[in-house]
């Protein structure tokens, strides 16, 4: 941009034509429709039973949509790639889970608090780690996840590597998944709305300026450091809440459930596959990746091949489609309007 005169910039066409009224209407109807269908889906289970598998799969999708969408705030908008975002997941789960085990307060009540505390942790970590950038930042996020794993592995109070069991929800099997389902659905919708609001705010504009050129952004008066730290913290909020619910859903706290490095990678992969820096991209990427994983595990029956497929897709997307599905389609104006939530 730098070598273009202002008049040249002025005559440049916007990259995308303005959204027409009909497509806006279509987009709002279809996306609202998706959420209505999701909200009504458990009724099938209540009425007929036998849909627990689908509920479980949807729970998985919600969880990863939350994580990928949250990751996108710092990784997509600001361009600070964190490979350790599952650390928030683990912290949220442990906070709520321990309160549940030791004080018998249900995670359904403590999840928002766990989310806020996780966010606080994110702010603190961001305060120190976001002084670095590029590959150094990426390495520091891996270091964080490894460090927290080691600490939890050795913490006697939570049972170390053996973990901490929690009592199950006192509902019959037919209904047991439904509270978790709605809770995660709500968190997911909140996280997507947050992502949308951030993108359309001055804050989000600042973050995107940082990802373009941080030094210029700073010169332009954007408080880059505060913005980055804030984005990193907010991205911890919903992941922490989801972690609290997920820990209770699995009735087990164990570092190896929440903190394996490949969960952190999967989050990054989903966001990049769908299109980092877009609102709908991470959600779409998460849904697609879970479908692929489930297919690989169910059809090929090997979890080892699962990470091979994950790795290969990640390499392929990174090298050939760094803008992801949504970004690539959008650049070619091929993106159906109902998937464009920007």
């Amino acid at each position: 941009m730098a070598d273009k005169t202002s008049s040249e910039i002025a005559v440049q066409k916007p990259r995308q034509p303005q959204i027409s009224k009909t497509s806006l209407w279509l987009r709002n109807t279809v996306s609202t429709g998706i959420f209505v269908v999701l909200a009504l889906f458990p009724l099938l289970q209540i009425a007929f039973d036998g849909y627990n598998y689908w509920l479980h799969m949807l729970l998985y999708v919600f969880l990863y949509v939350i994580m990928a969408t949250s990751w996108n705030l710092i990784g997509g908008y600001a361009g600070y790639i964190s490979l350790g975002h599952n650390v928030f997941f683990g912290i949220g789960a442990y906070l709520s889970g321990m309160v549940f085990v030791f004080f018998q307060i249900s995670p359904f009540l403590t999840a928002p608090i766990a989310g806020l505390l996780t966010m606080l942790g994110g702010l603190l970590f961001g305060l120190i780690a976001l002084r670095t950038r590029g590959s150094t930042f990426i390495i520091s996020t891996i270091a964080l996840v490894l460090l927290v794993t080691e600490l939890l592995d050795n913490w006697k109070l939570t049972g170390g590597t053996n973990g901490l069991p929690m009592s199950m929800i006192t509902l019959e099997g037919q209904y047991a998944k439904i509270p978790y389902y709605y809770y995660l659905l709500v968190i997911m919708i909140l996280s997507i709305i947050t992502s949308y609001l951030v993108r359309h705010s001055k804050f989000g504009l600042g973050l995107r300026a940082i990802s373009q050129d941080e030094i210029k952004a700073e010169v332009a008066g954007i408080p880059t450091r505060r913005y980055k730290i804030l984005a990193f913290g907010i991205s911890g909020l919903f992941i922490g809440m989801a972690g609290a619910i997920w820990g209770n859903y699995l009735t087990y706290l164990r570092p190896s459930i929440f903190l394996p490095v490949n969960i952190g990678t999967t989050i990054v992969l989903m966001a990049i596959l769908g299109g980092k820096g877009t609102v709908s991209g991470p959600a779409i990427g998460a849904a697609i990746m879970i479908a692929i994983n489930e297919f690989v595990v169910a059809k090929l029956g090997a979890t080892e091949l699962n990470i091979v497929v994950t790795g290969l897709i990640l390499i392929f997307v990174l090298l050939y489609f760094p803008e992801g599905i949504v970004g690539t389609l959008k650049a070619k104006n091929l993106l159906p309007s109902f998937l464009d939530w920007d």
Partner: protein, 291 residues
Amino acid sequence: MIQIIQVLILGLALGGVYALMSSGMTLIFGVMRIVNLAHAAFIIMAAYISFWLFKLWHVDPIVSMAVTMPVMFLVGVLYYKVMFASRADNPRFTDITVLVTFASALVIEGVLSYLFTGIYRSTNPIYATKPFLVGPFFVPQSQVYATAISITLIISLWLFLRYTRVGNAIRATMQNRNSAQVVGVNVAWVSMLSFGIGLAMTGAAGSLLSFIFTFFPSKHVAWIGMLMSLVVLGGMGSLMGAMLSSFLLAVIAAYVSFYWGPTWAPITFYLALFLILLFRPQGLLGKKMDG
């Protein structure tokens, strides 16, 4: 007192192997600005080659370096050619390499566990469990051999970089890629060669650690954390820095594990990595760089 010196000896005896493991990674970063997170996975791949050579044909793991080093060299050249050769000019190159190599590590881990399952493996030549007894001290033979070979290899690499024409070209590329190109260094070729050499080092490291540690495919995650801390602490791209930090952290980890128990030893590395990133990101002997 005897115990304290004993722990020091055990730490030093491991340091050489750590140094060999991290030397390739630091070379690769220095020349190409590639943060090779697949490094530990390649080491485990080499360890498996040594393991099967030992198991099937009773090839001594030290001898099998003659196989693993050239094999890993070729793997490195091919890998570089396919993944990175055409992308070295991308401004976000380093960021991309972090993710691509990490994804490659996952692929390698998955393929290895599919082929060889997750069973803990190690080779057991006769010297693997025998110690030298020096006065009151206990010095494991395996670690002495491994460290001696490692140091020899690193010094050869250092001499090669210092005193040969190709070595000078590599060092020139490390210092300034563009200027090296201007004075006639074939940077693309040098990069490919250095990646090959870096992975040849993982070949040697794999063979050596096959009789020092037990390994299994997903072990690379723990090792990559350790390697990153060694490389970052030493200063990314600095061979001598990597060597220094390897011995330093190996000794500190030995003491941590002696006083607090072996489960705490890995924390030494992660904590060191964390602190160095925050307070001196350029490392002990590294030059300041951005990105």
